[in-house]
Symmetry: C2
Subunit: 211 residues, 2 copies
Amino acid sequence: MNITCMLFEGLTVLDIIGPYEVLHRVPGANVQFVAKQAGPITTENDALVLQAQAGFADVQSTDVLVVPGGFATRQLEKDDETLDWIRAIDKTTTWTTSVCTGSMVLAAAGLLVGKEATTHWASLERLRDYGAIPTSQRVVEQGKVITAAGVSSGIDMGLVLASRLSDDDHAQAIQLGIEYDPQPPFDAGALEKAPARAVEILAEQYAGREI
Amino acid sequence: MNITCMLFEGLTVLDIIGPYEVLHRVPGANVQFVAKQAGPITTENDALVLQAQAGFADVQSTDVLVVPGGFATRQLEKDDETLDWIRAIDKTTTWTTSVCTGSMVLAAAGLLVGKEATTHWASLERLRDYGAIPTSQRVVEQGKVITAAGVSSGIDMGLVLASRLSDDDHAQAIQLGIEYDPQPPFDAGALEKAPARAVEILAEQYAGREI
């Protein structure tokens, strides 16, 4: 079973590492990291470089596609090379998935028309621009398409997908293996729960950036 | 503020990316990835390569050290070059931290003697071999040392540390930014919660491996 993790310059690295850490543990999984060209990919704040093992031209089909997000997806929404590759690959997949604003790229590729979908909360309403139906859930499954909410939600999505690719027993074994028994020190991970001051700080950081 | 993420061949990548995704968002954070030598580092199942920007010899001090885990830490527990570097760096840190079996490396370096600490549940009792006090908590803070449980716990540890490095407001803003509102599809992330079949599957996978 081939699982293809898409990379691009400026991605948010946890978006892809969350699902990756789950999915590479699924029995029979063969994971590859793919970008426009094989080679180094610099992530969001320039501190981390990952290697893409293959370029788009090398990968014409896959069983599972995972598209991560990040501020850089705003550009990808207009990038024909990326959108064309995603459309072509999607024709071959059993599952087409995204995390965070990776959903905006699937949407821009026309893959979410008429479908319920989620993405990072700050981008959620923009899904309408592409004919998708914004849905405030952490993981949204519609046929073979699974979209996940912001950044860390890719771990939850990965476990849902792992159960589809194998079964609940194996997905639970993976959850135990990565000791995913979350205990965040705060309950501020959703807009309706976060204290006003935290929302204000984040709004200042987002100001002037296209999200 | 310099935050140093240690890399080594065979690490479990989510161990380091979890804290990284939180900590690089702390105001004033300057994150670097460091290994024995600068250059490519292959993670646990060979599918992913990360770049270390600096080698041990290039980094003589840091404010925060983060040591991830993985099966490969068994070798690191006996690796004098790594242990010597960790001991030297620890003398300069404000916070020395670990995720998963990264705690075993801190322990082998002698940094957990007489301290409560945690690690991946499958290695927890082995902490005693190094004079540490195994503690079944997700994040354990003892003076300037913070240890975290298996793999995914590094996100929780990162948020605790972010609140110490800045304040609760900023840590909560980071939690909202990464939409860390976990909703795993199963409740199997701890040994006492996981169904028997999941434990059995994982035990088969661990059989014959040194953990």
